[in-house]
Point group: C2
Chain length 376, copies 2
């Protein structure tokens, strides 16, 4: 029986993680849940999974919940997250929060030699050097909850596989794959977000359209698997069936494929290196699949190259790019700017930034804060 | 340094095995070579690889070679193959002979706990139960030299992977994939063998056209990986880039892909579980690939189902099918019969056969001999 803590339990990944846990309830027990302000959903989760500890964003919610559930220890805020990470009686910390709120909790869990199942992008994009250095020092596994990085791990079979020589990250190509730059020039949020989506979905949708998302995944892959940027490639695969590939030194390729569901990567991160029959098994058929693979157009999507370049430069540059991009994307979603203005804002901010070599976590957070303040 | 013995060194797989060995000459040393009658090529191989033992088909060749190469021990015939298998100072026996000539040598090598790198189809098709029982008793690995079974092993990562639930063997679909049964009715050897090929190539080409080849691979996969026939599927993949796939219990698929070259499977069988940079690395590009996967048409290719059914029945039935098919295919190649007559001959022979439960090797060989005698 593995004890797990889920940070971000009421978000999309948190909810799906609990679905996996429910299906494999003979293998997992929930020690603690942490969420923001969705108290109604949290209560349902508490009643179903009986955690010993629960952390919410603000003190008021914590106090009210404490009255209702006397046998649970309630915590709140970023200190509450740190307290959860400091607990002894768990095996895996599932990090499904967004933004930088959990970075310190991750570092604390690594010091306690706990396995990290990581769905949060900022942890590695902004603080990859710091987090991975500590993980290596403590011999801790950082297991990705993300279809591309999980695919790579499944192909590698173990995190440090000396027989792998190149990683191939697949990208759908986004909604504007077949549009010209001239067409993109005219696009506003309505064109980019044809279907109504909740807020986080909108941000990711735009990052897919600019391919920034894929550049950030290249940075994460660099940190997770300790590969040089030269050996991490992006390949456009519009069908999104192959979730990524690994090329080995002998010229052989392994590809992981399946339905585009998060249940498999979530479950694999929890059960690695074993696998169990979980949810949604057998829903994929290889018959009648037609799979295409194309070279990305770096001229049409210059932010892809810029994002990877920021990764190569390291220091605070990935944090600069990430913050500028996030502010620009929200401006776009709010119809304040046009699609190609995202590029202009990000290129401008990256161009003006002064890099810091080997920054501390505080320096990285400060860069992030300053850019958001300035552009926001 | 691994010492290897190659049975069938002058055939296509034997020659390519020596190319792999030459490229990785710091890792492999050739202890012995065995071939049939291609003495000219054998001499070149002797001079390049300096084996201590050499076996040829007939005594006369052995005696003449012995005069020329005084420091080498020459052997001949099937007893010579057995003597090679009995040697102590080798690690891997590469079996690249055709037919049943090496089956006893394989069993001897297994008793000596040597690794078997197996390119020969008959060993497992005809005697899979006997060979695999002995391999399990002696804890010996049978590593396939065959693109499909190597692909499966690469996806499994280890021979007994409890997390795998289904094997998917890819098939190009053969030259008549898009022809109707009516069209096939008219086909003779000229239609089936449009490009001149050497003799072994012709046999395999026809087995691809009838899909018997794929049925035999299903039987081999059943023995190699100890999977029930229900969990071994065939999928048509005309591009022959994905060499096979494994479906895991959690619904995830791994696929192995690359150029259709035998160097990768040969090298993987020699270096398993490690990989090294060998020949032909980097010649495959994922860009601009379009990969299709289709369900096989068992009604159009009834020999595929019959072959798998013979595998399910076990006993001597796979040997019956294999012998009848081989005789029929050579009749077809020699323009004695039409394409669909292959089916008639094989169905007729399988229908008339009396199965033997748990046959001995001698009983299997006798069934093989009798069918060839009768139909030949």
């Amino acid at each position: 029986m593995k004890n797990i803590i889920i940070l971000g339990s009421t978000g999309s990944i948190g909810v799906q993680t609990l679905e996996v846990v429910e299906k494999l309830d003979d293998k997992f027990s929930v020690l603690a849940l942490a969420c923001g302000a969705n108290i109604q959903l949290l209560k349902k989760q508490i009643e179903k999974f009986n955690p010993k500890f629960v952390c919410v964003s603000n003190e008021k919610d914590a106090l009210e919940l404490q009255k209702e559930y006397k046998n649970i220890n309630f915590l709140f805020g970023s200190n509450g997250l740190l307290e959860l990470a400091k607990l002894d009686e768990y095996d895996t910390l599932v990090v499904a929060t967004s933004g930088i709120v959990s970075v310190k909790a991750v570092l604390t869990a690594i010091e306690k030699k706990k396995t990290i199942a990581l769905a949060n992008k900022e942890t590695l994009v902004m603080a990859g050097d710091i987090v991975m250095k500590k993980a290596r020092e403590n011999n801790v596994s950082i297991l990705p909850i993300d279809s591309e990085h999980s695919a790579i791990l499944q192909c590698l079979n173990k995190i440090d596989n000396p027989n792998a020589q190149r990683l191939w990250i697949t990208a759908s190509g986004g909604p504007f794959r077949n549009n010209s730059r001239d067409e993109m020039e005219t696009f506003g949020a309505n064109e980019a977000l044809k279907h109504p989506r909740w807020m986080m979905g909108k941000k990711i949708t735009i990052d897919c359209a600019t391919l920034v998302n894929k550049g950030l995944e290249v940075i994460e892959a660099h940190h997770l698997y300790n590969f040089n940027y030269e050996n991490i490639k992006v390949v456009i695969h519009p069908q999104s069936i192959v979730h990524s590939l690994v090329e080995f030194v002998d010229g052989s390729f392994l590809a992981q494929m399946g339905v585009p569901s998060m249940h498999i990567p979530i479950q694999y991160a929890l059960t690695y290196p074993e696998r169990y029959q979980g949810i949604k098994t057998n829903s994929f058929s290889i018959f009648n699949q037609k799979l295409e693979f194309l070279e990305p157009d770096y001229e049409k999507f210059p932010l892809l190259k810029l994002t990877i370049d920021c990764g190569k430069q390291g220091g605070v540059m990935p944090a600069v790019l990430n913050a500028a991009n996030e502010v620009a994307v929200y401006k776009f979603i709010n119809n304040e700017i046009k699609f190609l203005d995202i590029e202009k804002i990000v290129f401008d901010e990256v161009g003006k930034a002064n890099n810091i070599a080997n920054p501390t976590l505080e320096e990285i957070f400060e860069v992030d804060r300053l850019i958001r303040e300035k552009l926001g």
